[in-house]
């Protein structure tokens, strides 16, 4: 394809300009996090802004003392357990729903919009509604019951959309072939369907885990007496902000990044294996 060279040069310029823009955009979204990371190593007498007054692990050590940030370790444990439960439920529900949506059924439209509503209704509204409802019924809220309920409503649409996309590209003839060879439904699912959709299930789980682990709005009124990590972070915001918060933020962000890396690695391995 012979293309006039002025046009090729023009396209190269557009591409170069947009590449620069992309890098600046990355600076915009990662810059503040990076500044937080650097400041978490602030010297003992330093404050929450630059300049650095020496470099120390002072604020990281402070993070480990229970008296300062409260019951941080158990808050972290609760957040992790909650995130794992949400991950499992999101993965299972998303798969089941997407399998149902492969066929036409009565009420599928309503159900589709109900699932998507979880994405559209602000967390604060659901928290308010569930918290006042439980209060009226005399039931105590707890992170493993009411907060879990709202978290799944939030993560389900993401997992569902992932699984819908997976089944959109799914070759149904493979299942039909297995059925024709006499396999029953469970065998078809276990031997044919499941191995092919496992990467998708991992991706749905990623949404479940990471979104629940960081969720604040859908936890705040419905977690009961015990705090999860985002609630603890929010509580420490109302006190005087110290570099401890940056250490906590850095640790939490690094953990999130690690989890994303693990999920992507597992996804890639499973994806290669299933193709």
């Amino acid at each position: 394809m012979a293309r006039s060279s002025p046009e090729r040069r023009r396209r190269a310029r557009v591409k170069a300009g947009l590449s620069v823009y992309y890098v600046m955009f990355l600076l915009f979204i990662y810059g503040p996090m990076f500044a937080m990371f650097v400041l978490s190593f602030q010297g003992p007498r330093g404050g929450v802004t630059f300049p650095m007054r020496g470099i120390s692990l002072h604020w990281w050590q402070a993070l480990l003392q229970p008296s300062i940030v409260g019951d941080l370790r158990s808050a972290l444990a609760r957040s992790l357990i909650l995130a794992i439960i949400v991950m499992v439920i999101t993965a299972v529900f998303s798969t089941m729903l997407a399998m149902a949506f492969r066929k036409r059924f009565v009420g599928s439209g309503v159900l589709f919009y109900a699932i998507m509503a979880g994405l559209m209704v602000p967390g604060i509204l659901l928290s308010l509604g569930l918290a006042s409802l439980l209060r009226q019924l005399g039931l105590p809220p707890a992170w493993w019951s009411s907060a879990l309920g709202l978290h799944v409503v939030w993560t389900l649409p993401f997992g569902f959309l992932v699984m819908m996309a997976v089944f959109n590209r799914f070759d149904e003839r493979l299942e039909e072939a297995a059925r024709d060879m006499g396999a029953d439904e469970w065998t078809v699912f276990r031997e044919v369907t499941l191995p092919l959709i496992t990467p998708g299930i991992v991706a749905a789980g990623l949404f479940g885990f990471t979104l629940s682990y960081d969720e604040f709005a859908r936890t705040t009124l419905v977690a009961g007496a015990q705090n999860t990590l985002p609630l603890d972070i929010n509580a420490s915001l109302t006190q005087r902000v110290q570099p401890t918060l940056f250490a906590l933020g850095t640790a939490s962000t690094l953990f999130s990044l690690l989890m994303i890396a693990v999920f992507i690695a597992v996804y890639t391995i499973l994806y290669r294996r299933s193709h």
């Binding site: 590449s19 996090m33 509204l125 308010l128 309920g149 396999a183 682990y213 960081d214 972070i233």
Partner: protein, 332 residues
Amino acid sequence: MTAVEPLSARPEVVAPRGLIGDRPLIPIEQAQPRIRRDPGFPVLWLITPATLWLVAFLFLPLLAIFIFSFWKASGHGLSPAFTLENYQNFFAVEGFFDLEHENFLTPSIFLRTLWTTFRFTATVMAICLLLAYPLAYFLAMQVESFKWQLTLFLLVMVPFWTSYLIRAVAWLPMLGRHGLLNEFLMSTGIVDEPVSFLLYSEFSYTMALVQLYVVLAIGPIFFSLAKIDRALLEAARDMGATPFQIFREIILPLSLPGVAIGMIFVFVLLMGEFATAVVVYGGKTSTTGTIILNYYGIANYPFAAVNAIMLMLAMMIGVIVILRLVDIRKEL
């Protein structure tokens, strides 16, 4: 493999022999159920658990808000009633209908807060769109190798999976009086002394919100751009269309559904926003979200519910307006 009944075990159908070959013994409509028309697990089993979950944790809380908004606040809780007083308090202040009163036709603080919330949302949405579109365009149209496309896209999306409170906190060292931005402005000689409008201001609030939510706009726009058939662009080019014409007449219209979906995401999440205002605005402004929390805090559940209903209403109107402007059904 599980054993299935062999063909021979099935009941033999003996068709009467006619003049022209075999005729089916039973009418075709009746015979159909024998052939498995509906393979897979029963739909009812698959949808029941998730449906019950959505009823309990999505439908019931919303229904509760609606019902409680008509109840009365009583000391530490709620008492069943049917009153419109809460709604009246939302709209009207004392002396609203009184010509002589200084508050005549003054909108209430709650209505004004809803308006402020909406104003911020609209500003942030516009900035998000301006930032997200070129980025999505770059990723979808300019990056040729799929591997790079995916990597660069994931790099942009990663913050979505990290704590949004922490990301709001991270703005503090950037924007304070001795923050990086001030240092930068001073070192380049743009200002002589640190400017204070950067933190705890509309500026910091807008910046933080854009950074938090722009990611949600990029995803849908990227997907709708990536789906555009390259042959269309090639054909237009061969027919002599200028790059600008190609963009205006092909790329832009085909990407509008993605733009609409992205804007709906950003819109609904921003309208329900409440935590960022405290972190980077020092709680100087309130959003309808913070009002809801405050009234929940003082155990006035009905009034919190009324604010919630009004927020929902404003959101629905916004979403309907966006859907009116762009038809997204093709995208779903």
